[in-house]
């Protein structure tokens, strides 16, 4: 991985050897920072992070229960709920018939009466069959009933593209759910995000849509001792500055955050959104006021996407601070193709982000650049 980063860093910058040295130094320190925060911290996959969060919340509160297709006997379609059936029994880990509308509605009904369901969609593409319950029965209920009915439900599952799963299994629903008042929408990236945000979501009295990413499930991240504590919780609505920088602000979430961290060249401040609704406008605007340039990155379709909202927010609040127009990097405006080469071209790659960053900084391509 380090090898490819080095190549790309070379392509992005001029050939000045001194500068190259600096880049490589920075690269090495970044790489080392990514892997070893401090002596004695564990590494944990996102899958284990989610599993442990569910386990601890179920142990702490008997009204929390898990429901979905394959969550019990099969240990979870992606093994997120592994071991929970054996530990908590079929009443609290409910395998459902194949009806998203059915079990989303039933989850909402049980939440009306005081249980705290965690409903799993095998992917959020299937949530469209239940979206009436998510929006009309869950999100709007507290308002429509004037506070008499609150719905402490969590809808979770993988969102966005995986690898070679075609058009009906690859859509990102961040923008769809992010537009609905009454919902909270979270997008964890690392294992610490996954643990802290899932726990916060389960404890939250409002309905939460928790968008995970299938390709991140197997990724390992270091977790601090604090994050391993069972009472650990991350605040909803706060973004995280994954890396500080001074030339340009890049916002990303979920898997895209990984892409950015690998890229180097311009001193980018990378913001991991963590939460789409509520959007941490304060952090984003503060960062743009510092760097004066913004590139938003997402995998979803470009029109009415997350980047559009962030751009509008920055234009409304920090227009005078912008030195260049905001650029949005998003997935191609096509249903996701299957063929591997086409699929690769349908989603943002590191090169796209690098080029956008350079455009926004008004840098020309370097002489040695091959990208």
């Amino acid at each position: 991985m380090l090898g490819t980063i080095r190549q790309k860093a070379v392509a992005a910058r001029s050939l000045s050897s001194q500068v190259l040295e600096n880049d490589l130094m920075r690269l090495r320190s970044v790489a080392s920072v990514m892997r070893h925060y401090s002596a004695g911290t564990k590494e944990m996959t996102v899958r284990d992070a989610l599993n442990s969060a569910l386990d601890e919340e179920m142990a702490a509160d008997p009204s929390v229960f898990v429901m979905g297709e394959e969550v019990g006997e099969y240990q979870g379609a992606y093994k997120i709920t592994k071991g929970l059936l054996d530990k908590y029994g079929p009443e609290r880990v409910v395998d459902t018939p194949i009806t998203e509308a059915g079990f989303a509605g039933i989850g909402v009904g049980s939440a009306y009466h005081g249980l705290r369901p965690v409903v799993e969609f095998m992917t959020f593409n299937f949530s469209m069959q239940a979206i009436d319950h998510i929006i009309n029965s869950a999100a709007k209920s507290n308002y429509m009933s004037a506070g008499q009915i609150n719905v402490p439900i969590v809808f979770r599952g993988p969102n966005g593209p995986a690898a070679g799963v075609g058009a009906q299994h690859s859509q990102c629903y961040g923008a769809w759910y992010g537009s609905v008042p009454g919902l909270k929408v979270l997008v964890p990236y690392s294992s610490e995000d996954a643990r802290g945000l899932l726990k916060a979501a389960i404890r939250d009295p409002d309905p939460v849509v928790f968008l995970e990413n299938e390709l991140l499930y197997g990724e390992s991240f270091p977790v601090s001792a604090e994050a391993l504590n069972s009472s650990f919780c991350l605040p909803i609505g706060k973004a995280k500055i994954e890396r500080e920088g001074k030339d340009i602000t890049i916002t990303a979430f979920s898997k895209m955050a990984a892409e950015i961290l690998e890229k180097d060249g311009i001193s980018a401040e990378v913001i991991n959104l963590r939460s789409i609704r509520p959007l941490d406008r304060a952090t984003i605007n503060a960062s743009v006021r510092k760097t004066n340039r913004l590139v938003t990155v997402e995998e979803g379709f470009p029109q009415h996407g997350i980047g559009a909202e962030i751009c509008a927010s920055v234009v409304e609040d920090s227009f005078g601070y912008l030195d260049a127009p905001v650029e949005r990097i998003a997935g191609a405006d096509v249903p996701t193709p299957y063929a591997a080469n086409l699929e690769r071209m349908a989603f943002p790659q590191i090169e796209d982000i690098v080029r956008a960053a350079r455009r926004v900084c008004y840098r020309k391509s370097s002489i040695a650049a091959s990208a």
Binding site: F65, E70, E73, Y74, A77, Y78, E91, V94, D95, T96, P97, I98, T99, A101, G102, F103, A104, G105, I106, G107, V108, G109, S110, A111, Y112, H113, G114, L115, P117, M122, T123, D132, H133, N136, S137, S141, N142, Y143, M144, S145, A146, G147, Q148, I149, N150, A162, A163, G164, V165, H169, P181, G182, K184, D204, P205, D206, E214, G237, P278, R281
Partner: protein, 480 residues
Amino acid sequence: MASFCLTKSRSFIIQTLKSNKTSTNRTSYIHNNVSSSPLPVSEHAYYSHKNVSIVFNHSFKSIYVSRRLHSTTSVDELPAEAPLQQVLDFPGGKVKFTPKLTFASGATKERVHCYRVLDDNGQMLTDSDSLGINKELAVKLYTNMLTLEVMDTIFYEAQRQGRISFYATTTGEEAINIASAAALNNNDFVFPQYREPGVLLWRGFSLQEFAHQLFGNKYDYGKGRQMPIHYGSKKLNYITVASTVATQIPHAVGAAYSLKMEKQDSCSITYFGDGGTSEGDFHGAMNFAAVMEVPVIFFCRNNGWAISTPVDQQFRSDGVAVKGKAYGVPSIRVDGNDALAIYNAVSEARKMAITEQTPVLIEALTYRAGHHTTSDDSTRYRPVEEIQRWRDDQNPVKRFRKWIESKGWWTDEAESQHYSSIRKQLAQAIQVAERIEKPPVADMFNDVYDVPPKNLTAQEALLRKTVKKHVQDFPSDVPL
């Protein structure tokens, strides 16, 4: 890993793994004697359709089974001479074979019988199963039915006069509303569609409280956020009405699941019309409730019409009662205009639901004697004579009145007294509700979330500032 959710093997794996679970006490869909190790899978046998049919032709004589069963033994693994079998050991229970190629007809020879206690003239049928009810309960049932009938008339008129924007009557379904409510306890959770205000009335919701919601004033428990007739009361365990059809049905099952987990001595009940049973939510909910074994009563008000769609264009089954069998849910058809029949059926259903932890389906045959809502004129799509006939001859209120009068529990005097009292109360309630001010602007921004987020508090502040600055552009009767 990702491909798991895509291939056909998904449903097969579900079946295989589930067959390893121990069976439940009720109709087990897993046979006790199934071996605990996963059935051997031969890739060939599963993916090759041709192989599957060959296997069947050799060992099973019936064509029925081949469409449903995925063979797990390849042709090679079968013994050379498979013994003639009478019964198929299938997940879910044994199935007998038949050599006859016959299709079960979609239509039933005889329709499901309809339970009733009182005849058309309000006389109790001598051979009827019936719970005895005393004078107090009978009079309470009747007065509530009459109140509901009058309330509908007055509020409908109020809409026609332009005093409220919208209304939906329950005309013809007063017995369903009141008698079903009477058979429940106050802590049974009610998930209404929108034609069941009588349940709220029975539980103590006052005429004034109804009026407040219709006018959307500051005393409306819904804070003026919903259209008229979208009542709700946390205190009376009546979930706020939502406009979406049939979404309340799976909600009721979820709530019943919660009651089951908490081991409460109560059930949930959900009401829906004949039209609502076409929605996917109805089917998912019925199926689920049976599988999860939860205490829920599915009450279908089959009133013949879904706006302008008559039942024979809604479904081709023998009504809704037969659908219970399809999902493994005990069911009954009752005379929806017979208050005593409904009272008995719901009482019994409630007992069953709670003691046996089972869903129950009740189909009440009745007639929507009024229009769908004030936005509808049903004479455009159904004959006036039909409406008249049901309003007069089959009127549930009149029928029950004949019965309680025959018992000596009600008189003409009591009737006119109650009638005029209710009318007066309603006129009063409307006048009062009309004059009360609307909810304050603060109620526009709260309850979106548990704790108001910063952007909403900022929006509210901005709105107040704007209103103050441009007072003349905003209505003067909306309090801030």
